[in-house]
């Protein structure tokens, strides 16, 4: 691990969460360094989503602490975590399919100008900024002004990621971004993740496609039944090691 203790972007310590009699997380430690790509893997029900929902403020932990940029934080809603600079790309992408790329990138954060007493959309400014942002990420789209439902699956994924990173995000959590994509499109998404890292954005990658995780992750955290089963270096890890931790060792 290259990061020194205390220099993490995010540190979650001793996170515990139960839903009634089911304990989803039993004292989990999880951290992400600055501009680090962390793969979060585990079987269904291992606690990946719950952990990330706690980080983004959807759930509150029963016990444990969250530190972000060296400060203790309490996120009460996804809006809180977003304000701090944590963005989530959901598996269903969270795009309004009937709106175009520009509208989606700025949804809820529209750039406006005043027209007399009214605040109206500044389409020119938004399109300009959208184009700059997309070209910085080297995302290519046939048009910024067609409804996103007319884009391919990979293009939509790219729009969703671009949307998450358009407003000075420090950490982007991606839930299965390559799950429904063809191989070529999945490669593009992985390239996009590397580009985010170059731009000093940290990424948590939740994925069942272990080869994808191994390819881009600096570190891989394996969850197994609500516990951290192991933390592996991305570059030196073999697939078998990861699989062994995912399925192995009933506690």
């Amino acid at each position: 691990m290259t990061a020194v203790a205390g220099s993490f972007l995010v540190e979650m310590r001793g996170i515990v969460k139960s839903f009634g009699p089911v304990s989803a997380l039993r004292s989990v430690d999880f951290s992400v360094g600055h501009a680090e790509v962390v793969g979060l893997v585990g079987d269904n029900g291992a606690g990946k989503s719950t952990l990330m929902k706690i980080l983004t403020g959807v759930y509150r932990p029963d016990a444990g602490e969250i530190w972000f940029e060296g400060r203790r934080v309490h996120f009460h809603s996804p809006l809180d975590s977003r304000r701090a600079g944590i963005e989530m790309v959901y598996q269903d992408l969270g795009l309004a399919e009937n709106l175009d790329t520009v509208a989606n990138l700025f949804l809820g954060r529209e750039v406006c100008r005043s027209l007399g007493p009214w605040r109206v959309l500044d389409e020119t400014a938004m399109e300009q900024r959208a184009r700059e942002h997309l070209s910085a990420l080297r995302v290519e789209l046939p048009s910024l002004r067609v409804p996103v439902e007319r884009l391919s699956g990979g293009q939509r994924q790219a729009v969703a990621i671009a949307r998450a990173t358009a407003f000075a995000a420090k950490l982007v959590i991606m839930d299965e971004p390559t799950a429904s994509l063809a191989v070529a499109e999945a490669r593009k998404v992985l390239e996009l993740i590397r580009r985010l890292k170059e731009q000093k954005v940290a990424v948590v990658l939740i994925s069942h496609r272990l080869q994808d995780v191994l390819e881009v992750a600096d570190r891989i955290v394996v969850l197994n039944r609500g516990r951290v089963a192991g933390v592996l270096e991305g570059s030196t890890t073999r697939m078998e090691d990861v699989v062994a931790l995912i399925v192995g060792g009933a506690p």
Binding site: P78, L79, R82, M88, Y90, D92, L93, G94, L95, A96, E97, N98, L99, A103, N104, L107, G108, R109, E110, C112, L115, W118, R119, V120, L121, R131, V139, E140, L141, P142, S143, L144, R145, V146, R150, S152, G154, Q155, A158, E185, K188
Partner: protein
């Protein structure tokens, strides 16, 4: 991600998309022109006269205003079944206030505010009581408002309104007076045009309008984006209720009375205009301009059939067929754009 894209296609795509969007409304405009040509040919002495066209403009006013409010609700994938009853209620209350001696400057806004208040009740029933679908909440309001209308009016029409109150619904104004362009237009039609212009600007140019389309397209995406979906839904039902109030004011002015059965079934006409106008029932699609043309098509068909002495029953059959046709054309068009990919 497709790679066969170049920066220039963004520009070209933009232009093409604009043309396509414009065409989407142009075909409906074409229908209107065609309809007028046919009616002119069939009824050369009556249809294209100033009296008749003014009449059509006046007649479609109420439905056009109801449809405008209905459209904003349908854009969120909702529906407001109560607009007809609310229109009737607002008319009756307006007439009662006039009879009680309220001046027009108070009674007219009161009628519109009443509509907005019923709309707020619809919106809150949907978002606070978590009723499963707007169909339910507004169906309840449909009955409550109609019942209240009968109770308040005693089931009889209230006739004889003051000229000031009637002005909006019945008066004509002459535009460009003195010049060769001088034309007289019903005030109610100008009200309709102004409201459509305002709502079109609101939907296209403001963040709130965009959020309404977003909620209709994907409520979850809107929520992820931090949009207060519940507040927005209450807003659209308030807007729709207020429009029903305005429609009631216009109709009361036109017929110089408030009759308790006013607006019976009008909700279905407003929905028909919205659908013919190209809005999607699943939300997120359509424009006020299209809905306006939808209301015009319905008005022209009714007027034309009236001129030709076709029975009202056949008119209803025809309107039904037009709804089918309009939606089917939309299905075909959407299918063809999907094939392109």
């Amino acid at each position: 991600m497709r790679l066969e894209t170049y920066p220039s296609t963004v520009q070209r795509g933009l232009g093409w998309e604009r043309v396509r969007a414009a065409l989407g409304r142009l075909d409906l405009l074409l229908v209107v022109v065609l309809l007028m040509a046919v009616l002119t040919a069939l009824q050369p002495r009556f249809f294209l006269t100033r009296e008749n066209l003014t009449n059509v403009a006046r007649q479609i006013s109420s439905n056009a205003v109801l449809a405008l409010g209905q459209f904003v609700v349908v854009a969120t994938a909702g529906i407001d079944l109560s607009v007809g009853s609310v229109m009737g209620l607002c008319m009756t209350v307006l007439a009662l206030l006039v009879k009680a001696g309220w001046p027009a400057v108070l009674s007219l806004p009161a009628a519109v505010l009443l509509g907005a208040a019923v709309g707020a009740a619809n919106g809150l029933a949907l978002t606070r009581l978590h009723l499963p679908h707007p169909f339910i909440a507004t169906l309840a309001t449909l009955n409550v408002a109609r019942g209240a209308t009968y109770l308040l009016s005693g089931g009889v029409p209230i006739s004889g309104l003051t000229p000031e109150v009637r002005w909006l619904g019945s008066a004509d104004v002459v535009l460009f007076e003195g010049s060769r362009l001088a034309t007289s237009l019903p005030v109610s039609f100008l009200v309709v045009v102004a409201l459509y212009g305002a709502v079109a600007g609101f939907m296209r140019k403001t963040p709130t309008g965009r959020h309404i389309y977003a909620v209709g397209g994907s409520p979850r995406a809107a929520q992820y984006a931090g949009i207060d979906v519940a507040r927005l839904l209450v807003l659209v039902y308030v807007l729709c209720g207020a429009m029903a109030g305005v429609a009631g004011v216009l109709l009361a002015g036109r017929v110089n009375s408030a009759y308790p059965t006013a607006g019976l079934g009008a909700e279905l006409d407003s929905i028909a205009a919205v659908i013919i106008g190209g809005a999607s029932f699943f939300g997120g699609r359509g424009t006020p301009g299209g809905v306006f043309l939808g209301a015009v098509v319905m008005g022209l068909v009714r007027n034309g059939l009236n001129l030709m002495n076709v029975s009202v029953f056949w008119q209803q059959v025809l309107i039904g067929l037009i709804i089918l046709l309009a939606v089917y054309v939309d299905v075909l068009r959407r299918r063809s754009t999907q094939m392109e990919l």
